[in-house]
């Protein structure tokens, strides 16, 4: 998996590419929590180039969302491929995680 980070004003964006599974989720979790620990309160995770996610990936997204909520921060998830979005839907996560269509939508919502 490749992870690219971008900072635009107060918004920190993670662009994740490839497969987010038990093999790669630890690295992603570390990168996300480094940013949260450093005080970032507005996070976007751009799923455009993510081909695959398992429950290990969902676990990181959930942990990050909870951590940000405690700090009065906000997370937005955007640009998911159909298959990836389906995993969020089966898990029931789409009912409480903010998922939007495009990166621009995510920026506007923060």
């Amino acid at each position: 998996m490749d992870i690219v980070e971008e900072k635009q004003g107060v918004i920190h964006t993670f662009k994740i590419k490839g497969r987010l599974d038990s093999n790669t989720s630890q690295e992603f979790e570390k990168r996300v929590f480094d940013v949260i620990t450093n005080g970032t309160k507005s996070l976007i995770i751009d799923f455009r180039d993510l081909d695959y996610i398992s429950s290990a990936g969902l676990r990181v997204i959930l942990k990050a969302t909870k951590a940000l909520k405690r700090e009065d921060g906000k997370i937005m998830l955007c640009a998911m491929q159909d298959y990836v979005k389906e995993v969020f839907e089966i898990a029931g996560f789409d009912s409480f995680l903010p998922i939007v269509s495009t990166l621009d939508d995510a920026r506007r919502a923060l």
Partner: protein, 142 residues
């Protein structure tokens, strides 16, 4: 409907084998002309099962082989996963309920929940000192 098409491969009990699982399933998908979504779904189900087996199924530090067999017959894909770990039925673990709010949401059992939702049928048996899990999924052609 002719002879069933069969495939088999072995994975070691190491999380890095998820890459190998993905590669193997892509080649099965190519050989059978399976839709991408279908390959994604069986990959996810087997990923969750494999991750469960290697997390809870072995109580030593030795290398173990996990045998995966796949047969396609009459529009049905049948996958069998065998390991020589301790008697362990992953699908019997606590049944999660879907969370209504983020505060409710815990992640335990989610992998098994995904397996049950992605497959049409899943059952476990202990046979000759092995755990045998059989998963069935109807092949969707579109």
């Amino acid at each position: 409907m002719g002879n069933p098409k069969k495939f088999s491969f072995t994975l070691k009990n190491d999380i890095s084998e998820l890459k190998n699982l993905c590669r193997q399933l892509e080649s099965v998908g190519d050989a059978l002309g399976l839709p991408r979504r279908f390959v994604f779904e069986i990959n996810l189900a087997l990923d969750e099962l494999f991750t469960n087996i290697i997390s809870y199924g072995f109580n030593d530090r030795s290398e173990h082989a996990i045998q995966v067999s796949i047969a396609a017959d009459d529009g049905m894909l049948t996958i069998t996963v065998e390991d020589d770990g301790i008697p362990f039925n992953p699908i019997e673990r606590a049944k999660p309920r879907l969370p209504a709010t983020i505060e409710d949401c815990t992640i335990g059992g989610l992998g098994i929940y995904l397996i049950k939702n992605l497959m049409d049928d899943v059952w476990y048996r202990r046979s000759r000192d092995k755990n045998v899990l059989t998963l069935k999924k109807k092949i969707e052609t579109i």
